[in-house]
């Protein structure tokens, strides 16, 4: 059984729901179910919600009484278990070029893990990663599911410029930089698929609850997809289980 969340005010207009401080699939699912239910039943009360690993922050309209919102949400939480059906998820296939001209930390990364670059790529493309939530940068997915053999502490000296599309590992996490940014993660490759397009609404094809798989592509394929994605809106393919 999951311990129900605690409710606290977070400034004048927000309520913070906090679960036990740990990263766990059961908590993630509990947050997601309540978030969905709140959007269905209480959407008139808030502007938006921000889910994270073990919290859900609700930004209320200025005229809403926070305590009343908390009471209603607590009632909703108790009803939740009975009603909620499992939601179908989407698995996106993300093409990644692991060529060392794009994944400039790949060789050093493999060396630090006493593996060949092929082994690193194979482990990285084997897993299905779950999007826990988006944050840090516009469109940046916090992914769960990185193989333990690929855990490596962040670089001691962060890079000043990590390009948009960089696929990287930092500590126990892997992710994709949706926009250019400074960053301390190890760059293993780059994807030609844009992860953040502010002129689209929503601006990212990813949502909390979606899954992704990385698949290795050649430098030629990378250039080809990149050119096409720059001239027209492009979504990645959906993964087919065979």
């Amino acid at each position: 059984m999951i311990t129900p969340p605690t409710f606290n005010h977070f400034g004048e207009q927000a309520v913070l729901l906090s679960w036990k401080p740990q990263i766990a699939p059961a908590i993630r699912d509990d947050i997601r179910q309540l978030d969905r239910l709140m959007h269905r039943e209480l959407s008139a009360l808030f502007m938006e919600t921000v889910p994270a690993y073990c919290s859900l922050t609700v930004f209320l309209h200025p005229w809403v009484d926070k305590e009343d919102f908390i009471r209603k949400t607590q009632v909703l939480y108790k009803q939740k278990q009975a009603q909620e059906k499992e939601h179908k998820t989407v698995v996106w296939q993300i093409p990644v070029c692991y060529d060392t001209s794009l994944g400039w930390d790949l060789e050093a990364f493999a060396k630090a893990k006493s593996m060949t670059t092929e082994e690193v790529i194979s482990l990285h493309t084997q897993e299905t990663y779950e999007v826990y939530f988006l944050g840090f940068l516009p469109g940046f997915p916090y992914l769960g599911g990185l193989n333990e053999r690929l855990h490596l502490p962040r670089k001691t000296k962060p890079s000043i410029k990590v390009p948009a599309g960089a696929v990287a590992i930092g500590g126990q996490q892997t992710g994709v930089y949706p926009v250019e940014s400074p960053g301390g993660w190890h760059i293993l490759g780059q994807t030609p698929i844009p992860f953040f397009l502010p002129e689209q609404s929503p601006p990212s094809f990813l949502e909390a609850g979606h899954q992704i798989r990385f698949s290795a592509i050649s430098l030629e394929a990378y250039r080809d997809i990149k050119a096409r994605s720059e001239s027209a809106f492009m979504l990645p393919k959906k993964w087919n289980h065979k």
Binding site: F10, S18, C54, L134
Partner: protein
């Protein structure tokens, strides 16, 4: 249309913020001093959320290619119209060809220009606010032409100069609430946080202000969770950061305090200067949660 003759140090288009996209990691943005931006709109009969021009440290020079009504609010940047001094916080009638020059800050850090009808660039994700990753083109550039929206009324019957509460620019008190991790701090650190003088570091921008202090406070990292403008983070190495309008949507540092909305607007007008905290709660008696002050001197 408005022609940008010169842009000033850092001038951008801002409204009241970009809402509804935080779950995709899109920052809220919007006017740093939302209070002054709203006032400027009210003076020219705009909806309060209309887009205005925010100028930082020093202002822009702008030429109007049409008749309109404007208002300048926020810090005093010594504005002139065709070489003549004009008042702040008052509607001003503009004729085609008029040249508006906004000078350097005499007090305050940011000044706002509202134009009747609003700055009518295309909204991006529901907002016209500049952000380097979301709406990178909405920073003013020399030679640029800015479109103005349709206005309901081109003239104002209210020519009074609005007098702004002195507190907005001068009061050292910046009201705050306890943040989600405040109670995890040891008691002595809670009291230090609320009684230690701070200075605003030069490494401060629209994303966040770094505070410097001579006491050592520290808090362990948290599992990444939501943050918002006004969240005061405390890092393991002892850095205090007040997140401002362009901040990310999530963060991994302890959220020890939360500025009130008014507090964020006030801090948006503060230079690097000496500020301190005190636990004077008198001005927040109507608020239910306990209230403290980060205060600027």
């Amino acid at each position: 249309m408005i022609k940008v003759i010169s842009s000033g140090i850092f001038s951008s288009i801002q409204d009241q913020g970009r809402f509804g996209y935080r779950k995709w990691g899109v920052p809220v943005s919007g006017a740093m001093d939302a209070f002054s931006a709203r006032l400027s709109n009210q003076l020219v009969n705009n909806p309060v959320e209309a887009a205005v021009i925010e100028m930082t440290y020093s202002g822009a020079s702008l030429q109007f290619l049409c008749e309109t009504l404007i208002a300048i609010t926020g810090g005093d940047f010594a504005p002139t119209l065709n070489g003549r001094s004009i008042p702040l916080n008052s509607p001003i009638v503009i004729k085609t060809g008029d040249l508006l020059r906004i000078g350097a800050a005499r007090y305050g850090l940011r000044c706002y220009l509202a134009v009747s009808g609003g700055i009518a660039v295309a909204p991006i994700l529901g907002s016209r606010s500049y952000h380097p990753n979301v709406a990178p083109d909405y920073r003013l550039q020399k030679g640029q032409l800015l479109p103005i929206g349709e206005s309901l009324k081109k003239t104002s019957h209210n020519h009074a100069i609005v007098r702004i509460k002195k507190a907005h620019f001068e009061d050292p008190a910046i009201p705050v609430h306890e943040g989600p991790e405040f109670n995890l701090l040891p008691k002595n650190m809670q009291s230090l946080l609320l009684n230690t003088p701070f200075t605003i570091s030069n490494e401060s921008n629209r994303m966040g202000y770094r505070l410097e202090m001579n006491k050592t406070l520290t808090a362990p990292e948290i599992i990444t969770s939501a943050v918002q403008p006004g969240t005061v983070q405390l890092t393991p190495s002892g850095q205090l950061i007040v997140l401002m309008r362009d901040c990310p949507t999530t963060g991994g540092y302890a959220r020890v305090l939360q500025l009130t909305e008014e507090g964020v607007s006030r801090l948006g007008q503060r230079h690097s200067s000496y500020i301190s905290t005190s636990s004077d709660t008198s001005n927040c008696s109507t608020l239910r949660s306990s209230c403290f002050f980060l205060s600027a001197r």
